[in-house]
Every structure is written in structure tokens, then in C-alpha cells.
Subunit: 201 residues, 2 copies
């Protein structure tokens, strides 16, 4: 299902196949991540190291825990930050960490790439909240204003549109600064940060 | 929540905490299994070996796939066997396999312990179907006859009560025979097979 399908109102998994099947599809994909890790072409020691940080990032202290906080509703700015760090930040961050481990990064490099990913994760989320307020429905492929309708707590609620834009720039700058030690080799990651800063969808 | 709670009609997770939270609790537990494997006190090579067979047993070709077959409804006796082998059999079997790997079993030992677990898994399920027909509600802690009400396809449907009892004995015997090469060391597993053969709940 691509964005065109979304615009045409194609149903989501649980509408089309029922809640039980949609739930099992989700379980399958979560499980499939671990099947993939198990069969990675890498040294067992590295696989176990990756398994540790990936399973932690997706579990109660990461993505799933962040979803619980989201359902309960973040009440303060600190809770909003915590929720996003857990819900999406941990997985964005672990993607960078796994790459660092696979390429044999040293400890300072590991810390810098982690800082990049953590700041990028928050920038990504702020851009998301801004797009829901002032995005273009056609480009976005879904209706805007849905956060306000659902009463969802967002960066725009706490900081206002201008404040959220300042925060977006600040986190993007921090992300890019974290990459300085990598020099030219960081070009793709720097471009990615700029792309996310300006994305329309 | 113990059997007394069940008899008093204590609600299940999704009734008490809502479907979203129950779903996340399930995801958390599935994920937590892999967090546990990642942090097992064992050689990385063994951990990866265990991760391979556990993630496969719980995924689309095992537990989750079996649940899909269950929801779609097994129509033939072969589908019923396939469904149970996937849904519960794979996890019972992998429990035995992981123990075999951890204790350094050789290839014939590994095959025998696997055969034990596969036959035990089917015996367990046949006993389950029989208890739903002629079990004691007080001992069982839940109403009997629920399979008939829900139109579920069971061993009793296909084989009748007497046929199911014969099959139960046959699978239990096969399970126990698989353990012959282990001699006295298999005492616990033999007792377990006998216990499951006669269990009332």
C-alpha cells in the first residue's frame, strides 16, 4: 500500500483482515526481526551484542514502553520527550549503533553516532508534529490536523509553531555537530539530517 | 491470577486493561524472550544457535503461523495435526532442543529428544481436547464443552472419544520410547509424559 492507496482511503490491515490477523502480522514482523538477527552473516559475538541492544530498544524500555506512555498520554514536556525517545528514538538510535558495531567503531565514535541518532530522532518527531499542523495534505498523503482532533500531546502544543521550528533546527544542528569527528565519511548522514529537516511527507 | 480467580470470573488482560494494553503486554513478553536469550550466560555461538531455533519456532512457521491456521479453521485431520504441531508443538519441541544444545547432546540424542517433545506436544493437545469433553469443571477451573460451543475442530471431532484416547496413548508411548537411549537419566521426562497423560487440568 503506497501513499496513493492511503489517499484513496484503502483500509489498514486490521480493517481489511480483522484485528486477530493484524495482531498476528505485527507479532510475526517483531519475531521476524529476531529471526533475521539470528541468521545474520556475522561473528556470533557481534550477533549477541546486536541482539542485546536491539531487543532492549524494541521492548518495555524502548518502543513498546513508549507506546504505553503514548496511550496513557504524555502530560508534561518531559514526558513528551521521554515518550518519543522510547517510542521511535530507541529504534532510530539502535539502527545507528548496530552499524557502528558492525563496522568496528571505537568507543568515542560509538558515542558520537549515538548522539547523532538520538538528536535526529527528536528532530524527526518535531517535523512530524509540524507537518500535522501546516503540512500539505496532497504531499503528506493523509489529512492534517489529526493530532488536534485526537487531543494528542505534541511539540507544537508545548512550544508553539515557532518554538517547535527552533527546536527542530536545534536538534538537527546537534545531530550534525555530533558527526564532526567522521569528516567527509559522514556525508550521507549529514544529508539525511538536512532532508528530514525539510521533508514534506 | 490463579485458577481460583478464573473460577470467580476475574477478567482477562484485554477486558481489565483494554485491547491496546493487552496487545502491548503480549508484544512485550514476546520481545522479552529475546532479551533473555541475549543475556543468557552461555557462549555466543550457543546463544546464536538457540536464537535460531527459538525465533523460528515462535514465528510464521511455528507458534504464530499455527495461530493463523487455527483462526482460519482446520478442515481436515492433517490440517489439525499441522496446526497443533505449529501452534504449541514447535515451542514444546524447541524447549527440549535448547536443553539438548545447552548440555552438548550429540546428533542421535538431539533427534531422540526432539521426537520425544513432538509426540508429547500432540499427546498434550489430545488430552486438552478430551478434558474439554469429559473433564471436571471444578478441577479444570473453566467450563467444559467450550470447543463444541465455538465450533472448534478437535481430535475428539475426528477420532471420537475412544479414538482420541487411543491416539493419546499412542503418542505418549512413542514419546517415552524415544527416551530409551537415555536410560535412568530420562526419569523426569518419563514421569512428565505419564503426568500429562492423566492430568485433570
Amino acid at each position: 500500500m503506497d501513499n496513493d492507496d492511503l489517499r484513496r482511503g484503502m483500509p489498514t490491515n486490521h480493517i481489511k483482515y480483522g484485528e486477530a490477523m493484524a495482531l498476528l502480522a505485527g507479532d510475526t514482523l517483531l519475531n521476524y526481526a529476531f529471526e533475521n538477527i539470528a541468521n545474520a552473516k556475522a561473528e556470533p559475538k557481534l550477533i549477541v551484542e546486536m541482539l542485546k541492544i536491539i531487543s532492549s530498544a524494541s521492548g518495555a524500555n524502548g518502543m513498546i514502553g513508549g507506546q504505553v506512555v503514548d496511550i496513557q498520554g504524555a502530560k508534561t514536556y518531559e514526558e513528551l520527550i521521554t515518550m518519543h525517545k522510547m517510542k521511535t528514538g530507541e529504534l532510530i538510535s539502535v539502527s545507528a549503533k548496530v552499524g557502528a558495531i558492525a563496522s568496528g567503531a571505537d568507543s568515542p565514535q560509538f558515542e558520537k553516532i549515538t548522539a547523532y541518532a538520538e538528536n535526529l530522532g527528536l528532530a524527526f518527531q518535531i517535523r512530524d508534529d509540524l507537518l500535522d499542523v501546516e503540512g500539505d495534505e496532497e504531499a503528506l498523503g493523509k489529512p492534517i490536523g489529526s493530532d488536534e482532533v485526537s487531543g494528542k500531546c505534541t511539540f507544537v502544543n508545548f512550544l508553539g509553531i515557532d518554538g517547535a521550528k527552533l527546536a527542530l533546527n536545534e536538534y538537527t544542528t546537534r545531530a550534525k555537530q555530533s558527526l564532526e569527528i567522521f569528516g567527509d565519511k559522514a556525508e550521507f548522514l549529514l544529508d539525511l539530517a538536512d532532508y528530514l529537516l525539510k521533508r514534506q511527507k
